[in-house]
Amino acid sequence: MPQPSDTTAGVGPSPLARAHVSPWGDRAWGAGVSILGGSILVVAGLILAELGGVSLVAWKKLGLLRFLFGSDWDPVQDKFGALPFIYGTLVTSTIAIVVAVPVSVGLALFLSEMGPKQLRRPVGFAIEVLAAIPSVIFGLWGLFVMVPWLRESVEPFLQAVLGFLPLFQGPMIGLGYLAAGLILAIMILPTIASVTLEVLKTVPLALKEGALALGATRWEAIRMAVLPYARPGIVGAALLGLGRALGETMAVTMVIGNAPDIHASLFAPGYSLPAVIANEFAEATGDVHVGALASLGLVLFGITVLLNALAQVLIRAVSRGMSRGAA
């Protein structure tokens, strides 16, 4: 096998000498890696092409714009609009991020900076367990435990205190955007918390020590030295969580109510993109219905790509702002 000699040659001084040792081994290795790397592009391309091919019927029949911005979903009359599902996906994911990010960052800070040593282990273990629970279990727990609690305690309280906002008006049934958003928040919490924790561990000790030496309290040191340094990483962690929230199917469909409507109230039932695909695909027989469901898949794909691009921009902006602040 030529590979071991390759690696030792790689440490050697002259790159030319290395090329002499085994050009074929290098080339084969290079080609192999390229194939493996390129396969991910091929897979993504095939998914897009297949989804696009199946969707085409629906676009021809419905018109792309009317499909994207239509809000009626009527399989009997072959009328399909994606807006209620896009809206439901975005609203529930937003709730999840708004709830999960502060909690996760607090949790990560507790584990890395503040918490007593004896507690860090069990809390860290609990986060890992949370990450390993299958989503259908979250859905069941949501339906049987969280939804009644929301209906009887949380939603009446929110309506009494914040009822002047359209977000918290209307009948309280427990199921709906709020329930789905909260379930998602719990599900993405371990992802965000563990990545944030890793990021916090990379903060140089000298920064913290410097802040403390200058007379900062613990909280001030975290606020002025730790968090700014970790900010790009935390944004990245949040987007990782958001990616999971957007695609989550089972838990969401069990608590969102599965009604393709658009409501301002978070108490109202809604629907999400992955949920409707999972629900209707198995028994969709008409070509247009199948096409519309595949198009929803494309829309979800598009949202994920957009968010990833946005993440790149955001992380770059945040790290640039940080280096300027440091200068």
Binding site: P75, E280, A284
Partner: protein
């Protein structure tokens, strides 16, 4: 290496000889518990015939049957004209009946509904239990002042097809606004995935009403609503009243008929057949014979296994019709001799 060659040899030998015959099928989930019982019992009686049935849903069953990837299909709703055009040689063989029942979560028992009321509730027009129209039909019940939360299936389903088919028959407004389908545009309510999802939502939501299959409702002891049938009688859902629905319908030769809102004094109004889809003339001698003989067994001995699993057996009039249909099936252009099975 030797082992591989040996097993390859065995494989070839297995397909060539008249060893165990494997018949594959796919389709409806609703009759799956009964079909697995049937296949197991039949395999005990005829050990060299094995059935492999995948309950992937009626839509998938029709598709796989049409594409020829399985030997037989199974569906709850009969194939529509478009689907029939793609599989011209398909024969529908009704096996048992199912019913869709209306269940609820409210502080009273013995709810009765008229067709108009049920449609009005699902249209969102009767949205409170204190509605006077409900009290008129149920003089014995003291209704609470509670909103009615409508629950229905979120996944595409034959159960939804039968339920909406019934509503479209009894309410012109439903027919116009919503129509009949496995997934429809619901005017009101919450969606649950599967019978268990609907039941979960109903149990979790006070004041809710929803529909599930009779078998599922019986096994889970859910409260059942008594419905007024076409003859004006209030009929509780049961296996007998479900079978009665099939007896009161003018049966076409291909059985593609809706049994909802059927005539008959004791007929329960939301009933339906579930079918196996068979090719009229089958190409594979061994498999074809096995299928035809199994069907003969299913409409005779198999019917006795239906009731214990909460499926309604076919009424006698229908069995004698299906006998002729099964006798009309062919393998390589020739009918199968069924004397032994009889």
């Amino acid at each position: 290496m030797k082992k591989f060659a040996l097993s390859a040899l065995l494989l070839v030998a297995g397909t060539a000889s008249a060893g165990p015959i494997l018949v594959t099928g796919a389709g409806a989930t609703f009759p799956f518990p009964l079909y697995s019982k049937w296949f197991a019992e039949y395999n005990k009686a005829f050990p060299d015939i094995r059935f492999n049935y995948q309950s992937i849903g009626s839509g998938g069953g029709i598709q796989q049957f049409t594409n020829g990837t399985v030997d037989f299909g199974a569906t709850d709703a009969p194939m529509n004209p478009d689907e029939m055009a793609k599989a011209a040689d398909a024969v529908h063989v009704p096996t048992v009946l199912g019913a869709v029942v209306v269940t609820y979560n409210a502080p009273f028992a013995g709810l009765k509904l008229t067709p108009d009321l049920l449609a009005a509730i699902y249209l969102g027009k009767v949205s409170k239990w204190s509605d006077p129209a409900l009290a008129k039909v149920n003089p014995g019940i003291k209704f609470p002042d509670m909103p009615i939360t409508v629950v229905r299936r979120s996944d595409g389903s034959g159960t939804t097809y039968v339920f909406t088919d019934y509503l479209a028959k009894v309410s012109s407004e439903w027919k116009e606004k919503v129509g009949t389908g496995k997934s429809v545009s619901w005017p009101a309510g919450l969606g649950g995935k599967g019978n268990e999802g609907v039941t979960g939502l109903i149990k979790q939501t006070p004041g809710s009403i929803g529909y599930v299959e009779l078998a599922y409702a019986n096994q889970n002891k859910l409260p059942l609503t008594t419905l007024q049938n076409r003859d004006g009688n209030f009929v509780a859902p049961s296996l007998e009243s479900t079978s009665a629905a099939a007896a009161g319908v003018q049966m076409p030769a291909d059985y593609r008929v809706s049994l909802t809102n059927a005539a008959g004094a004791t007929a329960y109004p939301i009933a339906s057949f579930t079918y196996l889809l068979i090719h009229k003339d089958m190409a594979d001698q061994a498999k074809g014979e096995a299928i035809v003989k199994f069907l003969w067994w299913a409409i005779h001995d198999g019917q006795k296994l239906a009731a214990p699993l909460d499926y309604a057996p076919l009424p006698k009039s229908v069995v004698s019709m299906v006998e002729k249909t099964v006798q009309g099936l062919q393998v390589q252009g020739k009918p199968v001799t069924l004397a032994a099975a009889q």
